[in-house]
Amino acid sequence: MLILTCPCCGVTGEETEFHAGGEAHIKRFGPGSSEDEFHGYLFTKENAKGVHFERWRHNNGCGKWFHAARCTVTLEVFGTYSAQTYEPPQEIKDKISAKRPGWSWREFA
């Protein structure tokens, strides 16, 4: 069972206090988007083996959403950060690079 640190309230808690919310950094496509764009938005997900970026909600806690950078193989947590962002912060990317040189995920590396 994972432990995560909520960047919104600072609590480090066990997985039962959190709720996983799928892949992070997904761009919403609405009316006016092409079939391909909309299909990609709704259904095409990374399913990464290794470095992955996820959304979590601290549902049994402060109620806030945040992002986590995690390794799906070793379950190592590289860091958690605000959900109010379009890409992982440099600091998180640096941490991952230090541990998983040459990583890439979608357009990030």
């Binding site: 069972m1 432990i3 609405g30 909309f38 709704l42 959900a83 541990k99």
Partner: protein
Amino acid sequence: MSTRLATGGRLLNKDRAYQFTFNGKRLSGYEGDTLASALLANDQMLIGRSFKYHRPRGVVASGAEEPNGIVGLGEGAKFEPNQRVTTTELFDGLTCASQNHWPSLEFDVGAINTKLSRFLPAGFYYKTFISPRPFWKHVYEPIIRKSAGLGKAPKDRDQDTYEHFYAFFDVVVIGGGVAGLQAALAAGQAGAKVLLMEQTAHWGGRAVVDCHGVNEGEENVNGTPVDKFVDEIVAELEKLDNVTMRTRMMGAGVYDHGYLIGYERVTDHQPELDGPRHRLWRIRAGQIVTATGAIERPLSFAGNDIPGVLLASAIRDYAVNYGVSVGDRTVVVTNNDDAYRTAITLKSLGLDVPVILDARVLPEDSALMAQAKALGIRVMMGHGVAAVKGGKRVTGVEVCSQAGEGAVLETIDCDAVAMSGGWSPVVHLWSHCGGKLLWNNDFAMFQPDVDNPPRGADGEGFVIPAGSANGALDLSGILADADAAGKAAAKATGHKPGKGKAPSVQGITEAPMAAVWLMPQGAGVKKRMKAWLDYQNDVKVSDVQLAAREGFESVEHAKRYTTLGMATDQGKLSNINGLAILSDALNQPIPQTGTTTFRPPYTPISLSAIAGEARDERFQPIRKTPIHAWHEENGAFFEPVGQWRRPYCYHKPGESNHDAVKREINQTRESLGLLDASTLGKIIVKGPDAGKFLDMLYTNMMSTLKPGRCRYGLMCNENGFLMDDGVVARIDEDTFLCHTTTGGAESIHGHMEEWLQTEWWDWKVYTANVTEQYAQIAVVGPKARKTLEKLTDADISADALPFMAWADITIGDGIPARAYRISFSGELSYEIAVPASRGREFWDLLLAVGAEDGITPYGTEGLHVMRAEKGFIMIGDETDGTVIPQDLNMQWAISKKKDDYLGKRAQERSHMADPNRWKLVGLETVDGSVLPDGAYCVGEGTNENGQKNVQGRVTSTYYSPTLDKGIAMGLVHNGPDRMGEVIDFPKVDGAVVKAKIVDPIFYDKDGEKQNV
């Protein structure tokens, strides 16, 4: 015979005798006994029968690894099957009974299987019971189920209590032997917050027993005997405030990120005490030190399962710890030096050891061998057991040369055999979460690969093995390794270990062991068929060899095919021996075969401990409205709605559900009904962007709603499917109150927050879930206004408070209330929200003033029927996660003016816009009966599976008391274009119900009743 010795028994309190019964026989033991030692002290060697062949079984071990000694413990509400006698502490009044035999333990008809064992090899079930196919379900399975299994499931409710406990430590040391004690001391002295747990009731583990009887002074720690050293280190640990010590607590499982389950048996040994029987510690540890020791391996020789053949270490334990001799004459058979300790111990207690059969051939005697010989014990090097003689207990052994095929050289009478095949580190907890193993060829054992530990949240290792669990098998190595492990754990958790050295040990150097996987080495098939690997599941050397021949070459396949290691002991004794045999059969080295996966728990733990507090009234939260008690007192028949319990209807004496629902609806339609609607979700949405936000959330336009007014709205997810509906009231320019379905309150609030936090975080909107702040009561029926007017001075006339408006009013002597003129029944209706703390008061007031009009509380079924009569959809009935508003002909609720709302783009996708989607219609049976719920409407032809094509299904169906006939709604292909057509709904019994497609509004189509 096995008996109690006159002296000895270091764990016993002989001043306190306990009475207990086994199969109804009255026996006695002492405080400090395990059930195993007490049974042996009473010469109860035969304890049970094996799983498959019903072979006689006696204890083979003295601890958690025991496969044979399992009994049904206790009676009635205290009964528990499959309890290991070796880990059950004796208490006064204990009752237990043997298992898996009929009619009696001594004479078991099932033992015929052992005679048939040639015909019951590995994979027997799979091969034999496969055909004819139908026989499996009706003939084979019932018989096999009846004859298989060990203990019986308890019949009575468990009367004990259980609990969880969350605890957090820097370092948790599992195992309270000398290694665990030393590791805990090293970590504790460094200042780490330490938990040390030991599964038995005693500290010190094996070391004290192992040094027993060995030449005085030859083995000591810091110059003191080992038992003194244990006392001293325990005393030292007890002085440290930062170290917590718990006995009777097992490390059950190691999981991700330092999560660890500790299984504490709080009152098993003293059932008369208050408090929980078991406590499940849910621990987070910075570092876990596994000082879990090692387990001795049996040797595989013919008859190694006969009661009286025990592990050498177990015989030593029974003698030293409990003053019990397993036999008067014990033959020791070994491939290592350690078993000599048993011979020396027994001899020192005045018991006879006719011979030590040592499979090794060594150039010179080791210290222990010399000591044994000096005691006059005959030692036969290069020899082993050809076969054990005896049935329900050992009567002798046939001696052979280990190198040969088992020609009997000599027969030696004895009543016990002490065997030792070497030691295996207990690597279970190390391995649970991914710690890797290495093969140690010198000791023929797997040990932790310390470079590949389980890794935690930070990517660093979080388990450190210590002592014999790490492959250090001599006392000096054990203490040095444990000291280092404790220091490393302290360091990894940010503490500074001291410079102190590990205790200095004077020990005995043992001669190397020799791997012996079969005795004798060239044993023929007859011997191999009697050489047991897994005692509980009856897996023999020959079975594993057969599995290999038949192609089950992966260790995981061979395990499942033979059931090796799948019994309640999970193969603690059998796994290594089994995979050595498998490797030999496959002609490959043991590490290439590998081990099966070690999974938690280490030994079985009670299901009740896992459930913890979650049973009876605490099994799950039951949510109750402020009016719940009234419902209970007035005949409510409850149905679960999420975690709520809502009245389905209220029974008057003698009424059926049907009668009650009919009465409630008729009375509501004719006069006055009352509904506890408190469970409906209520969410406040406030801010300058609240209107814009709700326009995105709902398919309707909410931003144009005027303060003081209400609007029914639909909510879809991004896939376009309906997820919730409800009435939105605009409170003021900036503030809306959104009603959700009962089940939607938390999820819709979460949905709102998700979009606000993760997509539109720059929008100025705050939400608050105020569902439980209010008791909400629907006052429904032609007399609703008249009734309310008796309770308020406010003007609630049709002009002042028209349909789909709301107003703040005061009820009675000052209950603040908000009245919403909304209707889900089609009647004149007010939904009135009052503070929850005054909900019951308001309900009682309504009952009082409504009495003259026959006020009638109605339940959820009445609500459902009345809404169906009006053609109102219900989320979860008309919708199932695949239905879009357009399917329900609700285009009127979809704003055409909005560029965007959640689900809009999805609803433009080709399949969503397809005119061939099933659409909502009313259904009226030709004969007036009620359509079965969920029935499908069949069409022409069949699909590729030969099933009839379907063209629609029933989504809601009820008997309508108002119309006195069955009414239904359904989704039907091109439904709205087929009004008047009669379609077929086959029932489960094959009969067909004919129903006409009609308008879904069955009652008061123009809404005159609600709009008065």
